[in-house]
């Protein structure tokens, strides 16, 4: 019965705030820029900024990771808490948000005020100038209802890579993929393949891909979240495996999961959304190995 309720209210679940308007047209045709267009615009920005190499001054550092905060103007206490924990943590560090920052339209000003704290860098150009870099990938809630231009104004790019270094020593490579509509598109796929072909030969310690939409639908209870087409799942997982990607971090389904397939570990994180059950965020301790830990958000 629960599954049937999921089915019936599926449309409501994808647009579930008081600000949302159910845009049924979006189910049949793109209502804003498609992934190929967003990718082209992102590459134009990336080219204007140049490559991003983060100096960590150590071989070891911490990454704070959260996803699916779905903030509205009324509620964003978990994201506030996450940011407070991140800002209070000792250096070196950085943070990732895996998409669905906001719940629906009209909430970007609020998201901006939560994220833009002193020292926090929310885009590529700022990340080499400010001490607290925060990298974000778009989720479906972030771009539908024609919100890509607002996202782009704030965060500039949806597909990019950066690496971390300790002096002249290369540490880890991070690749952000735009999967906001459950598809990474032909242009981004070609870029990813080319990037991995080149970068996998440069001796990085770890290669990590982060994106919003999860590759596998492991947990049957999460019936309301959509995925990639199967062909795209097959191809993407094989590509990531071929070039030695170690981890894929994603969100979207609001339930924690971990699976290893073709040598790549796929971690899906719990949501950060205030009203969600089982909210948590993750910290990853980067060193010769990667150890990760989950932290529950405080209950009211």
């Amino acid at each position: 019965m629960k599954k049937i309720v999921y089915l019936v209210v599926a449309l409501a679940l994808v647009a579930c705030s008081e600000d949302s308007t159910l845009d049924i047209k979006g189910m049949f045709s793109p209502q804003g820029e498609t992934v190929n267009t967003r990718f082209e615009q992102s590459m134009a920005y990336n080219d204007s900024v140049g490559e991003i190499h983060l100096e960590m001054f150590s071989d070891e550092y911490t990454i704070y990771v959260c996803t699916d905060s779905h903030i509205t103007r009324k509620t964003h206490k978990n994201l506030d808490y996450f940011m407070a924990q991140y800002l209070a943590a000792p250096l070196p560090k950085m943070a990732l948000h895996l998409g669905d920052l906001i719940d629906a339209q009209k909430n970007y000003p609020c998201a901006d005020s939560v994220l833009r704290q002193p020292g926090v860098a929310v885009n590529q150009a700022q990340s080499i100038l400010r001490p607290f870099p925060l990298f974000i990938t778009p989720g479906n809630h972030d771009i539908y209802f024609k919100q890509w231009p607002i996202y782009r104004d704030l965060f500039k790019t949806s597909a990019y890579w950066f690496d971390t270094n300790n002096g002249s020593k290369k540490l880890d490579l991070f690749i952000c993929l735009d999967s906001a509509e459950g598809e990474i598109g032909t242009k981004q796929t070609a870029w990813l393949k080319n990037l991995l072909e080149t970068k996998s030969k440069e001796g990085y310690r770890h290669i990590i891909v982060f994106t919003h939409t999860h590759l596998w639908k492991l947990d049957g209870s999460q019936g309301h979240t959509s995925n990639y087409a199967l062909e795209a799942s097959y191809e993407l997982t094989s590509l990531l495996s071929k070039y030695g990607v170690e981890y894929v971090w994603s969100g979207h389904q609001h339930a924690r999961q971990s699976v290893i397939f073709k040598g790549v570990q796929y971690l899906v994180l719990n949501a950060t959304k205030d009203s969600e059950k089982g909210q948590s965020y993750m910290t990853a301790q980067m060193g010769e190995g990667i150890s990760y830990q989950y932290f529950d958000f405080p209950k009211e």
Binding site: K3, L7, A10, V14, A15, D23, G26, M27, F28, S29, P30, Q31, G32, T34, V35, N140, I143, Y144, F145, A180, E181, G182, E183, G185, T186, T189, W216, K217, L218, G220, S221, G223, T225, S226, N227, Y228, A229, L230, E231, A232, Y234, E235, T237, S238, V259, I260, F261, K262, G263
Partner: protein, 239 residues
């Protein structure tokens, strides 16, 4: 697991017995062989062609079996076995759809195995199926010495709604289908397929078939884009 298997077998064997009295209609399908050629495109595999061979075996009026094979130039090979117990009701026909589909994705060195169980009802102009399926994806290169296991997607909804312009035993027809499964794929529940099919009986034993399928992506991200399309044509020989 054994209990589930026993229950499943009992269901498959019992349903034909329930239909004690055979009535003419959908149960009169004949042994047939179908050959189809497909042109297909999707944004992942690009342009490719497929060859399909299907055999329908109506073993008795209450039980039929289908075997299907698809060979694709995308280096993907699919085999399907369907067992379909069925029985007439005062209006239309009830059937149980039991499918096992294996897709050998040689280009990515992995196998995708799906098993489905559904219940369907069809009348002259409409056919509806609802069910569940489970998917197991296995890496062909998996070493037993690692933590890696196969990927199990335990719950997926199977749905199929097909509407016909003419009664289904008409010598020609045009149909429109909305489903997440077709003859050679079982997509995740939020990845629907839209299909238009047509047939024309050109001679006593020969039927000409056409089909077009469109596969969007991102529909339930409320940002749908085109993902792929397939055009197919071929003949069925009815014995």
């Amino acid at each position: 697991m054994k209990k589930h298997l026993a229950l499943f077998c009992a269901l498959v064997l019992a349903l034909p017995m329930l239909a004690a009295v055979h009535q003419p209609g959908f149960g009169d399908r004949k042994y047939s062989v179908t050959g189809m050629l497909e042109y297909s495109y999707n944004t992942t595999w690009g342009h490719h062609g497929n060859m399909d061979i299907q055999a329908l075996m109506p073993i008795n009026p209450h039980f039929e079996m289908e075997a299907k094979v698809q060979l694709s130039t995308a280096n993907v090979y699919t085999g399907v076995v369907q067992l379909r117990p069925k029985f007439q009701v005062p209006v239309g026909e009830l059937f149980v759809e039991t499918d096992v589909l294996y897709k050998a994705v040689a280009r990515n060195r992995l196998g995708d195995m799906t098993a489905a169980l559904g219940v369907g009802y069809r009348m002259d102009y409409v056919s509806v199926t609802l069910g569940l399926f489970c998917r197991v994806i296995d890496n062909w290169d998996r070493s037993v010495h690692t933590d890696e296991t196969y990927v199990v997607e335990p719950f997926n909804l199977l749905y199929r709604l097909e509407v016909f312009c003419r009664p289904q035993n008409n010598p020609w027809n045009l149909s429109f289908m909305f489903s997440n499964v077709d003859d050679y794929q079982m997509e995740r529940m939020w990845q629907p397929l839209f299909m238009v099919g047509a047939w024309y009986d050109v001679a006593d034993h020969w039927r000409l078939n056409f089909g077009v399928q469109c596969k969007p992506t991102g529909m339930f991200h409320l940002d749908a884009t085109f993902y792929g399309a397939t055009f197919r044509t071929g003949f069925t020989y009815k014995f």
